[in-house]
Symmetry: C2
Subunit: 228 residues, 2 copies
DNA sequence: TTCTTGTAGATTGTTGACAATCGACATTCA
DNA sequence: TGAATGTCGATTGTCAACAATCTACAAGAA
């Protein structure tokens, strides 16, 4: 257990911790897209000075969650409908690759875990427990991309997911999109369990593409020139 | 021209400039993978204090070019053969998407430009001008990914390219890999010019996959546990 | 020799202060 | 009334200093 503490200190520092905290604040919705982030406010909140805060903010800028306007400060990024659609296309390509790679190398144990995810989601869907479904769904996707063994792929994919949470129309997803979406999970897992890379690729790409369709069709005509 | 200066100031600040400069220093090879980066050294070199330098370094860390070990400093990242191979796989998926999207939306003018790139590279190949070929090749790839109109895709792809330059065996590419690689360019452009998304997708994926093969087969057995 | 221990110098982590700049409000003038 | 200008408070940009920590080298013990 001391080892755990050491591990923490080895990979953590004040700016890194702040980066995680600020990211959490943004993704949790406390700061909304377009909001200005005041350095001193963050510094006071976490009891540090502005230096580490600025470093953390710059890190978040590189990862694409916020943007900086010189002399004016940092702002939470806003994702237009067009940008969100673009991200979905990239995500589909990456997720397709993940499905293919996973089908090529998955172990029997991995297949069991995948099926457990699906049956847990079955339960959540049957109970109409949307919040639990969302949690499981995220863990399921993360398990898939990490299961590929390709770190670059997993990192890129998970970063994209974060970006999508900046899209304001995201909350429009609900109801039967859960049923439709989950039906596809079965197909994906079946293809992976059959260790059929081509089929897994297609199923995974299709899963993201239909998610894009659902989101975009649920989105009314939105002014496109939102992003400055 | 004042407008140009204004544009610079609008999007630039000392840390941003430093980030570009340091990135250039790394990619140019002056700092090698594994090298430690001393903040004061950079600060002295560019005539600033350590604050802006630290911000720039943190930005580069998020983009994946360097990594930080708390209390020890920043180090230029090292890419193992396995990691490089992984990046190639991701790159193939993204480039395939780029080919597909480009074939769907390219203008006649765009096709002309693509063909110009290819004929310029023809000339470089015929003259065995490797350095010019490399330059043109990069511009060609950048034109393709930007031509998709998908900013997220272009950014991710270009970031991956940068990462690959951290792989030490990269310099092994030469000679006939130039010929083989360029032959594929013709196929890619033909597919895009025919506005055939499926064919363009396949050609672009294939182009990166063979590049991966060439690099990996040129790489002797390298100790895999390089990265900590 | 080889390993441990101790010390000095170098480097990072963090802070507080000061200058520069921006946005908002009030004031002035047409 | 409405537009232009001036001023003030708030915020960012940068720096220099100090404390904490690490690395490298040297000295001594097994």
């Amino acid at each position: 257990m001391t080892l755990h503490a050491i591990q923490i200190l080895r990979t953590s520092s004040l700016p890194m911790l702040l980066e995680q905290e600020i990211e959490h604040v943004i993704l949790s919705g406390e700061f909304s897209p377009g909001d200005r982030i005041i350095e001193m406010e963050i510094a006071l909140r976490f009891g540090t000075s502005r230096g580490p805060v600025r470093e953390a903010l710059r890190g978040l800028e590189s990862s694409g969650l916020i943007e900086q306007v010189p002399k004016r400060g940092f702002f939470v990024r806003r994702l237009s409908a067009k940008q969100a659609a673009d991200v979905y296309d990239v995500r589909a390509a990456l997720f397709g690759l993940a499905g293919k790679l996973l089908a090529e190398r998955i172990t029997d144990d991995g297949i069991t875990k995948l099926k457990n995810f699906v049956s847990d989601m079955d339960t959540a869907v049957a109970a109409d427990d949307f919040s639990r479904y969302v949690t499981l769904n995220f863990a399921f996707h993360e398990f898939i991309v990490r299961g590929t063994g390709n770190t670059a792929l997993a990192q890129q994919y998970l970063a994209l997911i974060k970006h999508l949470r900046l899209y304001r129309a995201r909350s429009l997803m609900f109801g039967d999109s859960m049923h439709a979406s989950h039906a596809e999970h079965h197909i994906m897992v079946d293809a992976v369990a059959a260790r059929d890379p081509a089929k897994a690729y297609a199923a995974h790409v299709h899963h993201v593409e239909t998610a894009k369709q659902r989101l975009m069709s649920a989105t009314p005509i939105i002014s496109e020139h939102q992003e400055k």
